[in-house]
Assembly symmetry: C2
Homo-oligomer: 318 residues x 2
Amino acid sequence: MSYEELARMVLKGDRRSIARAITLIENNHPKTQQMMSQLYRHGGNAHIIGVTGPGGCGKSTLVGKLVKEFRHKNKTVGVIAVDPSSPFTGGAFLGDRIRMQELSADEGVFIRSMATRNNLGGLARATKDAVCVLDASGKDVIIVETVGAGQSEVDIIKVAHTILVVLAPGLGDEIQAIKAGIMEIGDIFVVNKADRENADRAVIDIRTMLEMNSGKQEWKPVVVKTIAIEGKGVSQLVEKIEEHRKYLEKGAFASKRREQVETEFFEVLRQKIEESFLNDLKKKREFDKILEKILAREVDPYTAAENVIAKKLKNNKD
Amino acid sequence: MSYEELARMVLKGDRRSIARAITLIENNHPKTQQMMSQLYRHGGNAHIIGVTGPGGCGKSTLVGKLVKEFRHKNKTVGVIAVDPSSPFTGGAFLGDRIRMQELSADEGVFIRSMATRNNLGGLARATKDAVCVLDASGKDVIIVETVGAGQSEVDIIKVAHTILVVLAPGLGDEIQAIKAGIMEIGDIFVVNKADRENADRAVIDIRTMLEMNSGKQEWKPVVVKTIAIEGKGVSQLVEKIEEHRKYLEKGAFASKRREQVETEFFEVLRQKIEESFLNDLKKKREFDKILEKILAREVDPYTAAENVIAKKLKNNKD
C-alpha cells in the first residue's frame, strides 16, 4: 500500500491502517513525512486529553473508565499510552492492556501503546505524530496517557488541550508531583483511590498548593475524587473535562494551539536541520579535516562552526 | 580592557584576568567568542580531571586535598566547581569555598564556582569554555568538580581526561551511581570516608560491578580508599591519577581528544544554528505567517520547516 493510500484509509477511520501508520511513525520510516503532510491538514478537530501522574495511582484503570464514559456519550476515542521508561511495554502495563482488550472490540475505540525506541525527544515527536493520525482519523476524543511523572512526561503531555494529573492518597505523590513541575500544568486534578484513608487530606493539600500557585489564569484547576476501579466519580470527571473544553472554546483554545504549533514547528525545524545538515556533515571527509584542525589547535570550534555554516550557505548558492 | 588584551593577560596567567574572562563566559558576553578563539589555540596542555559523585560523599574536601598534593609536586592547579542544581552557590558549598580560601592565597591555584544561569546545556558549554581559559592560562592540572550525579553531571564531566567517581559507604550511593550511568565513565573510583563501617564492603561492591562492566577497554578502573578530611589516601590517589595520565599518553589521549573535539564542535555548531537561524526567524513577521498557516492546517509543520530551510539557503544566494 502506498503512503497516499494508507493516508486515505486513515482518513476513513480504518483501524488497521491507523495501526500501520503509527508503526511507520515509530520506525521513523522514510515515507512517514509524506503521510503526515497529507494527514495533518485533516486534523485539529479532536479534544486531546492528557493523563499523567506517578506510578501506582491507577491511571490506566481510570483511562479505561474514561473511554467507556465517552463511548456512552457516543464519542469515538483514541488512546496513546506512552511509557518513556521502558523499551518494552511490559509489567503492570501489560495487565492494563489485557483489561483494555475488552474495549478494543469496539470499533469506535483505538488503543495503542508506545515506548522508547531511541531517545525521549524522539518519543515525544512520535507521540505527537500518532495523536495527529488519530485526530485525522476522526476520533472525537484522544487520550494521551504517560506512565511516570518526570520532565519527559511533561513534554509529552503538553500536546494535550486538557491535562489531568492523577494522584492517590498516601503515596507521597503530592510532593513528587510538585518536584516534577506537574502541578503547574494540570487543569484537573484527580484524587483516585478515594476510598483510601487520607483522601480528603490529599484533596486539601492539592487545593492549598493550587491556591499558592494561582496566578492570573482564568481557568481555576479543579479537584475531583474518583474510585476508578469501581467507576465512581468518573462521570463527574468527564463533566469537568467537558467544562474545560467549553472554557477553551470560549477563547483560550486559540492561544493554546498557537503555543503548541510554535513548539512543534521549532521541534521539527531542529530535527530537519539535524538530519539534513549535521548528519550529512558527519559523512564527509571535510568533517575529519575540520576535526584535525581543531585538534591541532589551528582553529577553534567557534570559528570552525561559523565557517561550516557559511560554506553550507555558499554551496547552495551555486 | 579589550578582549585581545584580556586574552593576552590570561595567557600570562594573570588571575584577575582569568576571573574576568570566566565572567564574560558566564554572562555570554558578545565578545566571548573572539576571546575564546584567541585562547583556544594556546590550550591543550593541561591534564583535566573530573570529580563527580553524589552529595555528601566529601567531594569538595577531597578536591581541596588534591589541590594541595598537586601543589606539593609543583604543579599549578585550576578548579571549576559546578553546581547545576542551584542558581546560587550556597549551602554546604559555601562552607567549602571558605575552606578553599586558604588555597586561594597561593598564586599557583585558581578556584572558581559556576552555577546554572539559564539552562543546563548552557552550563556545560560555559564550563568547557572556563576549562579552556584555565588551560590557556598555563595551569598544569584542571579539576572540574560537579555536585550531584545525574545526566547533566555526566555531560559536564566528559570534558575531563581522567574521571574520578567519589562514593562514601552507607549512602546507598552505589546504586544511585549505576542508575545515573556514572559507573561506565569512571577511570578511578574513590571510596571516601573509608573509616566508616562498610567501607570494605563498598570497595568489593564497586569491584564486582566493574568486573561485570569490564569490556575491551585497556584501562581497568581502579578503586582507592581515602579519608579526605584527614588527608589519608590522597597521595595514593594522585599516584593513580598520574598512572592514568601515563596510560593516556601512550595512545588513548588521541582518540579521547578526538571524541571530545567532535562532541564540542557539534555542540557549538548546534548553538550557532540556533542563534543565527532559529532565533532570527522568531523575530520575523514571516514566522507569524507560517504559524498562521500551520494553525489553519493549510500546511503541515514538516513541509513548513523544509520551506524555511530552503528559503534560508536561497536568500543567502543573492
